[in-house]
Every structure is written in C-alpha cells, then in structure tokens.
Symmetry: none
Subunit: 119 residues, 4 copies
C-alpha cells in the first residue's frame, strides 16, 4: 500500500506521512478505522518502528489520526483535517501562479490546466 523512495530527498517519516495522509483524504482509510500498528507497518516496510512512530505523531498532530493508549491509532473525521489541508493547498496554488505570471506564462495556459483537470 505504501512505497518508500530512497532516492527521494525528503526524510522517510515525511514520505510515510504524506502517503498515509493521501490514503485518508481520499477515503481509502475511513473515519474510525484502525490504522496498521506501528510495529506491523515497521515490519512490512522494513523500517525502524521509531520512524513510523514519528510519521504517526505527525499525522496525529495534524488531525488525521487519533491515538488510544494501549489500543492503537484510528482515522479521524474529515472535519478535523480538511480545512487545514484546503488552506495549505490554496496557498501553494497562489504562490505558483504568481511565479508563473512573473515568468510571463500566459494566463490562458493556466486556465487550460484548470479546465483540463476539472473536466
């Protein structure tokens, strides 16, 4: 379910965080569903449990999962992370479109991308 790219410059825990957050946002992992345990995921990915732990801590901190001591980690309701995720995405889009304008990329080119993706 998760692939780690060792050529990727980002740290492993961040890659895992990103992959899992996508699985949650897209609804493949559903609210209140149990996440794989830290240990199991560590074994599956042949990665140290501490590293998984760190990814899970990040997910919890950003409202994607909640931890029940002695029981495990569970997926949060959409409401607890969706607003943040949207806000950050909008900010990135704004930054890159500004960059595009500075590079005198045509407005039409951007608009075409929007149309194509939202078709």
């Amino acid at each position: 379910m998760i692939n780690i790219d060792y050529r990727d410059k980002r740290p492993i825990y961040e890659q895992i965080y990103e992959k899992l957050s996508v699985l949650i946002v897209t609804g493949i992992l559903k609210a209140d569903e149990k996440m794989p345990s830290v240990r199991n995921l560590a074994i599956d990915l042949s990665i140290n449990p501490n590293t998984i732990q760190r990814a899970y801590a990040l997910l919890e901190q950003n409202g994607y999962i909640y931890t029940v001591k002695g029981r495990g980690n569970y997926v949060c309701e959409k409401s607890s992370y969706l607003a943040d995720e949207k806000r950050e995405t909008i900010t990135e889009i704004r930054n890159y479109i500004e960059k595009a304008r500075n590079l005198s990329i045509d407005k039409a080119e951007i608009e075409n991308i929007v149309l194509e993706i939202y078709k």
Copy 2:
C-alpha cells in the same frame, strides 16, 4: 539587495539561490552583467563564503549564471533557464490543482485566484 530570513526553515544557500534567481528572471540582473563576487556577497550578508559558493553553483547548474575562471560570475541569456523554470512551474501548478480537485475545492475558487493574480 538580498535579505536573509533566519526564521525561514530553508537552508541559507537555498534562500540566496531563490532570491538571486528572482532578480535574474525579473531582469534586475541583466544578461552578461557581472554578479557580485562570492567574497563580497559573503561579507555583505555576514555569511560563510562556502554558503554563497553553493548558491552560485546551483545557479550555474540551472542555467542562470556562467562562470569565467579568474574573472567572476555572469548572468546568462534568458533562453538558457526560462524553459526549465516554466516547465517546473507548470508541473507544480498542475500537481496542486489536482490536489485541490481531490479535496473538492470548487473550480470557481481556483479560477478566481488566476483572475486575481493576472488582473
């Protein structure tokens, strides 16, 4: 001409790279113009010369400047970096707009951003 933000999480060499590349793209530093010397810039910014060196190496690698041994660094023609820069910007825009769609952000919201920035 360049401000370093020590609160910024990016490494210093990356900030310098980014700032200088903007000065070049916007034409404030013009083609074949001489760049400040590594040593002078290091003194001006109170920064380790190695760090400036690294930023310049990145600029050279990405086609923004060229080095003449014993003379210094000079700004390249736009043609040598603009295509790459545009391509990468377009890719990022595409990625983030796809992400926006997956988060069910309205198409209209993205279009408004485009209009606002290109007004």
Copy 3:
C-alpha cells in the same frame, strides 16, 4: 452515565476515574451507595475489566470508594476525600494564577473569570 472520549489523550482508566469522582463529588453517587460492579461496567463500556479495576483502585486510594471483599465497591463519606480534593484544586489555581501574573495578564481578567463562574 459515563462517556469515554477516545480522542482524549489521557488513558482510559484516568477518564473513568475522573468521571466517577465527579459523580461522587456532585452527590449523584451517594455515600454508602453501591458502585456498579467492575465486570458490569466493563461490559457496559465495552472496555477491558483491568482498566475499570485500575480506575476503581485509584478511587479507593484517594478516598472516594471503599471495597468490601466479596460484595463490591461503595461510595465513601464526603469527609474522606473532600479535604484532599479541595487542597489540590487550590494549589493548581494558585500555580496558574502565578503563571498568569508572570505573563502580565491583567488582574481584572482573572477577577472576571471568577465572577462569571460564581455568578
């Protein structure tokens, strides 16, 4: 009678302890009244009996309940826990008000909170 909030970061036994102690302090569970049995409460809350046991042990230790072997757990007289509970609460209030003063929060702001809660 008791809701467990799995999003709460505190361990489950502590939540149960806290909820039950409130029921006792507020007089909803009265002196010498029988507490629900460990087993029943465990079933009601779909929780491991060890966890309930642990909450009860804490309640006993702090003078909220007493155990009669073979019979069950019973609520203590107010005298046996109230003094401790008050003392600890006063200490916490003192600590946090000192902290507030160090942060130069206005005396008036604290006084308003007191008035509002005691109205």
Copy 4:
C-alpha cells in the same frame, strides 16, 4: 540552569521543554540570543542528544525558538509565543475555578488568592 527530576512522571523532553520555555518567557533567555547547542546541553545534563533534540523541536513548534541549519537555535520574539501561552493559562484557570465551585469552595477564598498574588 536546568534540573531534571527523575521522579517526575513526565518524560524528560517535556521537563526540559517546560524549563526552557520558562527561561524564555521570563526573559532570562532573550530574543535572538543563541540557545545552548543540542550536543552541549546533552553533555551538561548527561542526557542523550535525541532527547534534547525533541525538546528543541517542541520549542520550535510552539514559537519559542527558531532553528538555523548549521548555525544553531535562537530565541524568538515574545510575540510569537505569548498569545498562545496566555490563552492556555486562562483556560487552565477557568477549568480549575469551575472545579473549585463544584467542590463548593468559597468564592472569597479564590478572590483572596488573586489579591495575594497580584498584590
């Protein structure tokens, strides 16, 4: 400057976080002053650098310090953490005063504490 209490139930990284944040809030460590390096503090306290690292990460996350790669950690301006710290302190005060009222502690007793501390 910092004492660790091994009987304290809180994890070491949290104790260090708390002690350092107090030093910052009280102005003993001033804005833009350099923090002790992770390694040095680790040696001073005879504690693993990873643990110090974690305390520093928490301090950064909550706006007490900022990190410059390759240079070290520096104290932030008051504005970047004071609002949060105040808000949290007010919340705690509110919770404990409510608890006091439920224990039928006299309003006068609380008011006396306020007066005494703010005299």
